[in-house]
């Protein structure tokens, strides 16, 4: 069996009697990529803050494997401009060696910024810096709050692809919040649609048919997702006929919608 990293049982968080997260059950295992989606105010950030130990639960249980190293990529890196700070210094404040920090920056593609000031980075560079910092800690669990915010559309796709690769390299669990539904779908194992409670969850292919999902996001989103979720285990020729590729050995489990 895969190793269980975090388990939430009937987790409820209330702010002034208003349930923000309501009776959520969730298990994150090593190797999982779990994406939380949901409308604004659905409690997504509150849920992952509970997992991180930043938010106290009103009721329910959070059990985290003892000694679990968590790499956290917060939503924003808003830094006080009065504090002079270079990228290398910010990385090394993680307590890891300069070598480990440099390797992590290389992995996320921003090693050239080693001597730059953190105050002069673009949105995308900041996200990659934060990811590198989480990486330098060799995490068992990566927690990302809208990692592709402020990143252009090409960058977004490659960032999600990078997260997927990192999962394979570190063999860690990943739990992330995202609004980029169609981009995330290709790189995730399980989608959780949150609207205070979990309205539906499952494999990205199945979830777009779920009535609860359609009710939350509307037909349009559901349909566009269904189109995007298109398993590329085969190719089409110029006439649109399915052509077998080497990996699929001629088999076709194509799902057209």
């Amino acid at each position: 069996m895969t190793e269980r990293l975090v388990q939430l049982k009937q987790l409820t968080v209330r702010f002034d009697d208003r349930p923000v997260v309501d009776s959520v059950n969730l298990t994150v295992c090593r190797g999982d990529i779990i994406t939380i989606i949901g409308p604004n105010g659905a409690g997504k950030t509150t849920l992952i803050k509970a997992v991180l130990g930043l938010q106290q639960a009103t009721s329910g249980q959070i059990s985290v494997t003892p000694g679990l190293v968590i790499g956290y990529v917060p939503q924003h890196l808003s830094l006080e401009a009065t504090l002079p700070l270079s990228v290398s210094r910010f990385m090394q404040l993680s307590g890891r060696s300069a070598k480990a920090c440099e390797t992590a920056l290389q992995r996320t593609g921003v090693a050239h910024l080693w001597n730059a000031s953190v105050h002069h980075l673009s949105g995308g560079e900041k996200q990659r810096l934060l990811l590198a910092r989480a990486l330098a800690r060799q995490p068992d669990l990566l927690v990302l709050d809208e990692p592709a915010q402020g990143v252009d559309i090409n960058g977004q796709a490659s960032l999600y692809e990078l997260i997927r690769q990192l999962r394979d390299e570190l063999h860690c669990g990943v739990i992330m919040i995202s609004h980029d539904l169609h981009l995330v779908m290709a790189a995730t194992d399980k989608v959780i649609c949150l609207n205070q409670h979990i309205c539906c969850s499952g494999h990205p292919a199945d979830i777009s048919h779920d009535p609860a999902f359609i009710e939350t996001f509307g037909h349009q989103v559901a349909e566009s997702l269904a189109v995007y979720h298109h398993r590329h285990n085969h190719s089409h020729n110029l006439h649109g006929d399915v052509v077998a590729t080497s990996e699929t050995h001629g088999a076709c489990d194509h799902e057209h919608h």
Binding site: Y72, L83, P84, L85, S117, V143
Partner: protein, 270 residues
């Protein structure tokens, strides 16, 4: 021994040595005030120092101790009250700062037997520095600088990104308490030199001046200490020769250094 006695026997040298000791801790603490946007918070604690003085007279304990305890109590009250979110933090700070100052002044007026030099307390007094104060200053400086050196990485991390620090296991809440203790100490020892109304200036102005030239956090700290020392030495000399009040003279010198640096130096790239 004779030289030391001669130096410490002279009130100007006592004030200068004490003032430099204060600048030594005001620099680093000032950086944290600037980084964590705690200027108004520092002001509130400084104002409450006067309440601390009144309390010390009331229950006959050493002034410095009374000030430290009062500052700590006010700091705790602030943390607890701001958690209730009934009022905005700056409103809360305004209420506590001025109430503490007013209660302190009213209490002192009820004690006719005790003669306090109010102007000296509010704006600093060159003549008031005695040998016991020097002990408090350098004892406090050793404690504050020792704590800073020990907790430096964690303090810096929790200042840069509190949530990230917490996830990485930094005891953010405990560090906040330690920082407040250091504030209370610095206020208690800086009070004699610059007075309760101007302590925040001695914390902020040298740190802000240092920011312009600094490339790393430690660099900024060192420069803040340097500008603090310049302000103290210049201000006390001014006060000695022109008979101006000590605290305002120190702050004016700090401000002149600030203007000079911002007027001439290019912004540091980091």
């Amino acid at each position: 021994m004779n030289i030391i006695d001669a130096v410490l026997g002279d009130f100007f040298w006592r004030a200068l040595i004490g003032g430099l000791g204060v600048a030594l801790v005001a620099g680093p603490l000032g950086c944290f005030v600037v980084w964590r946007r705690m200027a108004y918070f520092g002001d509130t604690l400084a104002h409450s120092a006067l309440l601390g003085i009144a309390m010390s007279f009331l229950i006959s304990i050493p002034l410095n101790l009374g000030v430290i305890i009062t500052c700590l109590l006010i700091a705790m009250a602030l943390v607890l009250l701001s958690r209730t979110r009934a009022l905005a933090t700056d409103t809360l700070l305004g209420i506590l700062a001025h109430s503490a100052l007013a209660i302190g002044l009213v209490t002192l007026s009820f004690m006719p037997d005790i003669r306090v030099d109010l102007t000296g307390l509010l704006f600093g007094d060159l003549l008031a520095m005695n040998r016991q104060d020097l002990l408090w200053i350098f004892g406090g400086a050793v404690l504050v600088l020792g704590l800073l050196a020990m907790l430096w990485r964690q303090l810096l991390m929790s200042t840069i990104h509190e949530e990230l620090a917490r996830v990485e296991g930094v005891p953010v809440e405990r560090l906040r308490l330690v920082l407040m203790l250091m504030f209370a100490l610095v206020i208690a020892v800086a009070m004699k030199i610059v007075g309760v109304l101007l302590i925040t200036a001695l914390l902020i102005i040298p740190a802000a001046t240092a920011r312009r030239l600094a490339k790393t956090p430690e660099h900024m700290l060192g420069l803040a200490i340097m500008f603090g020392c310049i302000a103290v030495a210049g201000g006390l000399t001014l006060s000695w020769h022109l008979d101006t009040p000590a605290g305002p003279s120190v702050v004016v010198t700090a401000f002149l250094a600030f203007l000079l640096v911002y007027g001439t130096a290019r912004n540091a790239s980091n």
